[in-house]
């Protein structure tokens, strides 16, 4: 039998570091949860019991140790960092998405400027504070953008466009670094 080698979505592409901004891949279990009709509260209960996380409100993320839960759309959240407990499937549609997405973390003071060149949404503190997440357009790709720290951002796109994401982030990183260099010259 052919032995297949598991590769992460951005294998061989990351990490990248330009002018103090670092982009690295996050590889962790990922499962989408969509509560059945009228089962939002039940899913919240089951999530808390099994994984210790609260069901996030629209545009929010919640966290408990290694496990986090990101709001991911209308009646849709994503459990990250743990395989979903079987109890969740009683109240929600549960789908393993671990290999379906490319998830990267970008850290650095200029990270916001880098993202601002790629997405139409407002990235200022008032609109996207730490702990906020948004489904949006990332250079024509459907993705998710999350502010996990003051200068720490997470970006998710479909695995099939991982290379494009890394290319776009790198190009934007270089542009932002170039502008900073010109200004300081």
């Amino acid at each position: 039998m052919v032995k297949l080698i598991a590769k992460s979505a951005a294998e061989g592409l990351l990490p990248v570091e330009v002018a103090g901004v670092r982009v690295e891949e996050i590889v962790a279990p990922l499962a989408s949860l969509s509560p059945f009709q009228g089962q939002d509260a039940a899913l919240g209960k089951a999530l808390k019991k099994a994984h210790g996380v609260v069901l996030p409100k629209a545009g929010q993320i919640t966290q408990a140790g290694e496990v986090s839960c990101h709001w991911f759309g209308l009646n849709h959240v994503m459990l990250m960092g743990a395989a979903p407990d079987a109890s969740l499937a009683k109240v929600a549609a549960v789908t393993d998405q671990s290999d379906a997405w490319c998830r990267v973390r970008m850290t650095g003071e200029a990270a916001r400027d880098v993202l601002a060149r790629l997405t139409p949404i407002d990235l200022r503190d008032a609109a996207l504070p730490v702990g906020a997440t948004a489904r949006t357009d990332i250079q024509h790709m459907s993705g998710a953008l999350t502010r996990v720290g003051e200068d720490v951002w997470e970006v998710m796109v479909f695995r099939s466009v991982a290379r494009t994401l890394v290319h776009d982030l790198t190009t934007s990183l270089e542009t932002v670094a170039g502008i900073a260099e010109m200004r300081s010259a």
């Binding site: 629209a58 209308l74 139409p120 948004a134 949006t136 357009d137």
Partner: protein
């Protein structure tokens, strides 16, 4: 141009796709007959002014919205979740 999604807030027009007149929510009975179905599928008012349309927030939360806009001024007058609008229609009979 921006549409205010009830879930995501103000978002750029590029995140949305127009999915036709809001009358598409009034789907006739499968056995309503050719005349009714022809009316539903093909005939629309085309006002110079305020219109209700279905828009899909596909590059965002994925919700279907009923967006009220003015075709003359391009002003967006409001947006509601299509599921809420449909529920009201059902409740009203």
């Amino acid at each position: 141009m921006k549409i205010s999604c009830p879930i995501c807030g103000d978002r750029d027009i590029r995140e949305f796709t127009c999915m036709g007149h809001a009358s598409m929510l009034n789907r006739p009975d499968p056995h309503a007959g050719a005349k009714v179905w022809n009316e539903y599928l093909h005939n629309r008012e085309n006002p110079a002014g305020v219109i209700d349309e279905l828009w899909w927030h596909g590059q965002g939360c994925g919700a279907w919205l009923v967006v009220t806009r003015n075709t003359v001024t391009h002003e967006i007058l409001g947006a509601r979740l299509a599921r809420d609008v449909k529920k009201e229609m059902r409740d009203a009979g």
